[in-house]
Symmetry: C2
Subunit: 269 residues, 2 copies
């Protein structure tokens, strides 16, 4: 047991105000930290070696019986503990139905040099994803498909947005993600001998009739604008997913998972 948790009841406490501010990207980036809310997400962060600096909890909101063990785990890796009143926690909670657990952890940044690629690299590159929920779902898809890493080009939403943390169901803590501009990403892939296959409706090549084996990066455009001109021109191959029905029935997250799993099918065959 370490020192007791500091108690906070005032909504005017500077830490409370700081936690609210950290919902803004600028504030997160300046402070170099981000928030992880909820039992499942914090447990996964701890499992994956994320060390919270601060841990806020409020027993009035607890849903189960495992919270004290999680708090002790966070303390063991060096988190400073704060016990909040019900009202104070309601103010800092981002979720509609809080469970009384909120951790503040340092952001990290991976570079291309940090990436460990397998013998047959398999990467996902996403351009300028706007919606945090889509980015979270895309990270889950890359995890399920066994991608070595995800590369986010020219990001619009930041990786540490609370909705990315949540929608990724903890995958953010395990799948390596590198952020870069499209030109650098393209140059790096070329240098590594990794072929690029970009999805777009503007081609006649069907994705499932295109060879997706060997060192490969699948390139996905943004929600609103689709594939950029840069990748339209730079990708080694363009592929199309055949679609029945309404033109917009497949969103970017859905198109990503279809393409990834076709690659998995071919690569395991």
């Amino acid at each position: 047991m370490g020192p007791p948790a500091e108690k906070i009841t005032s909504l005017q406490n500077p830490r409370i105000k700081q936690l609210v501010r950290l919902r803004e990207r600028r504030e997160r980036d300046e402070a170099g930290v981000f928030l992880i809310e909820g039992y499942r997400e914090i447990r996964r962060a701890l499992e994956k070696g994320v060390s919270p600096k601060e841990f806020y909890f409020s027993p009035d909101w607890f849903l189960g019986e495992n919270e004290p063990a999680l708090i002790e785990q966070a303390r063991a890796v060096g988190a400073q503990l704060f016990e909040l009143s019900k009202d104070a926690f309601a103010k800092v909670a981002y979720r509609e139905r809080p469970d009384g657990l909120l951790a503040l952890a340092p952001q990290w940044k991976r570079s291309f040099d940090d990436l460990k690629l397998g013998a047959n690299p398999f990467l996902l590159v996403c351009e300028s994803i706007e919606k945090p929920g889509n980015l979270g779902t895309i990270l889950r898809s890359a995890d399920a498909a066994g991608c070595d890493a995800v590369i986010v080009c020219d990001p619009v939403t930041d990786l540490f947005n609370p909705n990315v943390v949540r929608a990724s169901t903890g995958v953010l803590f395990s799948v390596p993600v590198v952020v870069g501009d499209s030109a650098s990403v393209h140059a790096w892939l070329k240098a590594k001998g990794i072929r690029t296959a970009a999805t777009t409706p503007h081609t006649t090549n069907l994705y499932a009739q295109t060879d997706l084996r060997g060192p490969l990066a699948i390139i996905m455009g943004s929600e609103q604008y689709g594939l950029s001109e840069f990748w339209m021109k730079s990708a080694d191959v363009l592929v199309r997913i055949p679609m029945a029905g309404q033109a917009d029935s497949l969103n970017v997250a859905m198109a990503t998972i279809i393409t990834l799993f076709e690659a998995v099918r071919q690569r395991s065959g």
Copy 2:
């Protein structure tokens, strides 16, 4: 031009109160109606032959210039018009950022006899989907994959939930959906000579190594419980999607789209 729209400014107006109540399933089912909010959704509903009975609009919330034409279209198919004050519309709007357009339309119910199947039927069967957002996404996937129809077994969320309407981006108005209990659905599929392939982690058959051509219904379990014992025993074949990473990286909507598009690939081959 028909009669002028009736103006409503009071938050106590019975129609305002009724619209708020219609967010509840029981109220919707009793009244036999549902709500369609937003320009895109209402336009698609009108395109697909849905005839709103009532149409509520509030110019203070309009985002563009095409709203009057949409209102006239609704009037032309018999909708009674109501012009709401900004406050009154804020009260009935379901969305966080309303666009001043809300239609009330009659629910419909399709039976198996209504379904028109092609020469090589391709159906999706979902068990007890709980989250409206998932059901909406699943409807979009079935549309994109060109399914003849979606069958919802033992539903938990109702088809006419505002979040299903929204998440389906209008596909609810075009893809035929039938609701039934699992035993009846199974009997009907048998009678029609449609083979059933159910997805579950509890099999060694890989989905992509299983023949998904010919008359086929893909069966998906619920979010929380997966495939029911009924379908585990009754399906003609069980198939598994191979997964790397975290056990829960694929949710039911993602698993559905992967399976549907593998079937599309095989069936178009």
